[in-house]
Symmetry: C2
DNA sequence: ACGGCCGATACCGCCTCGGTATCATCACCG
DNA sequence: CGGTGATGATACCGAGGCGGTATCGGCCGT
């Protein structure tokens, strides 16, 4: 008699209909029927009277409904008390520029549900620090984009993001279905400030640096990068599927390895709170769009 | 946060030692450690301070210990109340002669643990009814021995029992390691009364009836069968591993298909109480001797 | 009589759970 | 100060449970 099973039973007892109860539980009807049957087997008595018109509670079922509600409520209180006593913890989350956007809001909402007492501080980082403050110790956990030098850092891939090149809409190449890096060999390429993570630098300058023009143009933020495309006609790379300002178009690159949207934390600083955040992040990503999970 | 996990945590919190807690829970240490870690992840806080000397509770852990105990106790009460309200039910169990013996006592004990209010009535049947009263409606569930005609009856095999031949200790064949049915072709064979289940009859007269002497000698009980061996020198078959009276020996038969010790109930009369009994029986058999499970 | 709704069943793939083997760390002790 | 034992953590594996899809059976309504 686990709490999960009791939650199932309460749903059926209140809906008096397996299909609706299953929908409320975000599952399908067959496993729900089976779970209730197992519960009846375990308790050794009939809880529900099934009929084609609907479901009725037996006396034992009605009693269990009441008791189960109380038990579940108490379980919720227990969890709340324990997490509360653990102290009002603050979790500092670093995000890489606009990477998080609507994913971040969904994640924050889910996290607050699990830890009502927790505070989340957001620290948005520019493109010069792919760890989004992790390595410098400014944040506990980072929502960012790989690849970067991850020594001492644990990363879990949330989804893969194909990368495209940003062009002015009036660019001759702007309306192609796709492009290859070689098509951009003669363009002006940006670079990051000196001291930027070399793996990161290499990736965003086309994975293989040689034979491509190293421009003096330095960008620090996504906005700078896009503006540089508009004003200077430089090459801009970015993951697909993000909003673009007027006058710009993004064309998929076929020979650019996809970027991984990851959640990362210091390998030596794994706390339950961080693990919890990571777990919730993975769940949120999975429920959001299972097809894109890497 | 399931009740199972809380039971684990309570064990560790009370033993303050993962190994001892695991032993108390009848499991090994690694999955216990993992479960606790997952619990900490879910709650987002540290519950236990590990050290090579032992384990200490954090304040949150101490609180959870208290609350979890209360929650588990309430869950037990809920189960008790619900099963109690379902009424003092009586389950009639049929057993085939002495088949059940110590298995039956263990099963009854386990069943009373789950259903303190239930009453168990035992009805011991002789060898003339392999369904032990199931088909005649005298019992709800039967602990018996297959094979028999099981149309309309559901059976679950609990274990396989090799069959041997019972001989007087002074019989020339009594000290052989094993025998084949052919070695007994010239012996006198018993039979069951007319009207006995034909599958059952065929099995205990050597699976293939032809070429073997059909004696007029009719046995109804295991005792009669054994006495008949002692007094008349007939052939007696029985599963190995049971106690024998003085002066008799059992020799394994190599070409006799093993008999299945089964639990059986009417296919059209499946109630939660019966399912519960079956489930417990399977668990008891498994924990008793996993190697012999069929 | 027949179509539709509802719960039950069969079957499948994945993930969790518990088990075995092994490692890392630290206390204790010679 | 290094060996040794104890303790918890980790890696990996196989089985079972759980949720999914597809389908069945049965009663109700028109």
């Amino acid at each position: 008699m686990e709490l999960r099973t009791l939650r199932y039973f309460v749903a059926v007892a209140e809906e008096l209909h397996f299909g609706r109860a299953a929908a409320r539980l975000r599952m399908t009807q067959p496993p729900l029927s089976r779970a209730i049957k197992q519960l009846e087997t375990e308790l050794g008595c009939v809880l529900l009277l099934r009929s084609p018109t609907g479901v009725a509670l037996t006396p034992a079922g009605a009693l269990l409904h009441e008791e189960a509600c109380a038990l579940l409520a108490q379980a919720d209180r227990v969890r709340a008390h324990v997490t509360e006593l653990a102290g009002p913890v603050t979790l500092t989350v670093g995000t890489l520029a606009d990477s998080a956007e609507q994913f971040g809001t969904r994640l924050a909402a889910a996290y607050r549900e699990h830890h009502p007492a927790a505070r989340i501080l957001i620290r948005e980082s520019d493109l010069t620090d792919p760890t989004a403050g992790l390595r410098s110790g400014l944040v506990d956990v980072a929502l960012t984009r790989a690849p970067f030098d991850d020594t001492g850092i644990t990363t879990r891939t949330l989804r893969l993001e194909r990368v495209g090149v940003v062009l002015r809409t009036d660019d001759p190449l702007a309306h192609r279905e796709s492009l290859r890096l070689a098509d951009l060999a003669e363009r002006r390429w940006f670079r990051f400030p000196d001291g930027t993570d070399p793996v990161w630098q290499a990736y965003w300058t086309g994975s293989v640096e040689d034979g491509r023009r190293r421009d003096r143009l330095v960008v620090r933020t996504a906005r700078e990068c896009l503006q540089s495309v508009l004003w200077n006609g430089t090459v801009g790379l970015m993951p697909l599927g993000h909003a673009l300002p007027e006058g710009l178009t993004v064309v998929p690159l076929t020979d650019m390895p996809p970027s991984r949207f990851v959640i990362a934390w210091r390998a030596d600083g794994t706390t339950p709170l961080i693990r919890s955040f990571v777990r919730i992040a993975e769940t949120v990503q999975r429920t959001a769009d299972p097809t894109r999970v890497g």
